[in-house]
Symmetry: C2
Subunit: 361 residues, 2 copies
């Protein structure tokens, strides 16, 4: 078993990574307190892992929500509140998120706001959730006018990332998760990109040790950045590489049609393209990014039907926008992400129009 500590002074917590953690009561035992436990999961994950999780956690009750980003809403969180209140769960309750990022974000938000805060534990069942949403305490829901617009910063007691559960993950979701793994390499760990390129086959075949190591490095990268900037007032924004474009794609395409990781993959290619147009990134490096993502089976262009003005409108209402300026994370080379909001409108227009021609001047 590998582990990563997310170091946040009085709210630090460990991430445990390894094969079969869902069947290892010893690992989670120190984090279970005297109160009741409620598992929050969805109708895709429940048939696969709910029974095992209930055995792990002492046969506690569960609420099974509908699966999908389109259900990541206040209305769904409301169902968690209703269940908790109807069954009289008190402040000593621990909520356990068993599922992907959507379940983790909603469970975390419910935990942050039920009775003004109860404990929570994450058991992420997608690669994306294991490397991204389980680290850093961002919780929340979408709003018709934008993703993750309502939420809170709230840290779990611990995270169990069992690599075994990835075997039932649809291939499309596995690839989407790898997009975020590649993101960490692009932000500040160029040697990790080389490692990923070299281990592509093992990763996509879900070789246990290789996957655990990729998760460990990803979590460590994110944990390091989050520890420096828990509430995203500075450096943490770099984790949004590919996300300004990516969120716009998700919003324009309608939640749930593009997987988050897929949108981030295409968004990173757009960020590489814009970086290249600003003479910050060589065309060679921009193409390397595009080709690596392509080799991992990810989309490397946005859908053709989003117009330039639609992008601009959506991005202007992104919560990263400040004082009317859209904030982009761009690359001054692979492994050197920077925040930039002063973008030449003409260069941006070309990126927004490039489609399949991204990174190819």
């Amino acid at each position: 078993m590998l582990s990563v500590n997310v170091d946040l002074v009085d709210r630090s917590y460990p991430i445990f990574i390894g094969k079969g953690l869902l069947g290892s009561p010893d690992v989670i035992a120190p984090f279970l307190h005297s109160g009741r436990i409620l598992i929050v999961t969805n109708d895709t994950v429940a048939p696969l892992y709910l029974k095992q999780a209930q055995e792990l956690l002492g046969n506690c009750d569960a609420i099974v929500l509908e699966d999908g980003e389109q259900y990541k809403t206040l209305e769904t969180v409301r169902k968690i509140y209703d269940k908790l209140l109807a069954d009289k769960y008190d402040r000593d309750t621990t909520l356990v998120a068993l599922g992907g990022g959507v379940i983790g974000d909603m469970t975390g938000f419910a935990a942050a706001t039920y009775l003004r805060g109860v404990k929570f534990i994450q058991i992420p069942t997608t690669l994306l959730a294991q490397v991204d949403s389980s680290v850093g305490g961002k919780t929340g829901v979408n709003h018709p006018l934008g993703k993750n617009m309502i939420g809170a910063f709230y840290q779990p007691e611990c995270v169990l990332a069992d690599t075994e559960v990835l075997k039932t993950l649809p291939e499309r979701e596995l690839k989407a998760g790898l997009a975020e793994v590649i993101k960490y390499a692009l932000i500040n760990k160029p040697e990790f990109l080389t490692w990923l390129e070299q281990h592509q086959e093992q990763l996509m075949a879900l070789d246990g040790e290789t996957v655990s190591e990729a998760i460990r490095i990803s979590c460590e990268q994110k944990a390091e950045i989050v520890a420096q900037d828990e509430r995203e007032s500075g450096i943490r924004a770099l984790l949004n590489l590919g996300h300004t474009f990516g969120h716009a794609i998700e919003t324009a395409a309608g939640y749930g049609n593009w997987l988050h990781g897929e949108a981030v993959a295409a968004g990173m290619v757009m960020a590489a393209d814009l970086s290249m147009r600003m003479d910050w990134l060589s065309q060679e490096d921009a193409l390397r990014i595009k080709n690596t993502l392509k080799k991992f089976g990810m989309p490397v262009a946005p859908p053709a039907d989003i117009g330039e003005q639609q992008y601009r409108n959506i991005m202007l209402s992104d919560k990263k926008t400040r004082a009317g300026k859209i904030r982009f994370i761009l690359l001054k080379g692979i492994g050197n992400a920077v925040l930039e909001s002063d973008i030449d409108s003409e260069l941006l227009a070309r990126t927004l129009q490039a489609q399949e021609q991204l990174c190819q001047t």
Copy 2:
């Protein structure tokens, strides 16, 4: 102008108390940052003070909600989110709560959760909000199954308590606010009870200096307790004197029929009665509490139509309940509140049945 500092390490903030603060831009100026401001108020307060507040805050926009505890819901907070998103308010936004406790609690919750947290300022316009809900960072909304079940701890940048606005407050609400003022005396400041008894006339006539002093002492009492226990893991629970019974009255009577302060007044008499039955409080002191509240024009008995079992059911789902035990704040003498969850069921039954006979064995 008087002021009280709420000392919470990295989230400390001042409360300014005095006549005409709504017309004093100098006081609030240091707390206004570069971003946009949105005032949240209701349709009772808006015709009276919105224009003045907008002048104070540089002609910012406002959202006017329906007035009343029955609108303290997720659905109403949702209207604040909708407005913020439709008008593209970003993370540098400051929300200003202009109204009573309901507006303060909902605005604080919206600020805590919009884009995972924006700044907020409170301008409480009721006595209750000035002495209670503006201190301590409790924010949230009600749920059909209980009061304040959904919320967060979130601190304002500052609080402006303008005593001038109390002149338009209905007398019933003024009295309800005084119930909370009296509460602070009962918890840990017995000499304040004597002062309040001596200044009853000036207080009820809204003499500016007397009212300011009563607000200052109340805020100081609450601030001192909150500073020791921000997240209510211990001593802060004492502030709930009268609230376990009071919340049950509010819930049973239907939100909005009893004012919070009125329910707390009757709840404090019930707490005094139970304390007396446990031989912790003399009958003389119990009657002094009841009579003082009565002299200030407050209800000193719960409504006749709430049955014993109904009380017990509601109290069991109170968020202060732990491991199935209802937690009461009782008095071991005036000025000495204690937390007790081990209550003889028979004694509790007598308190729940006493009605008009409370404190009269």
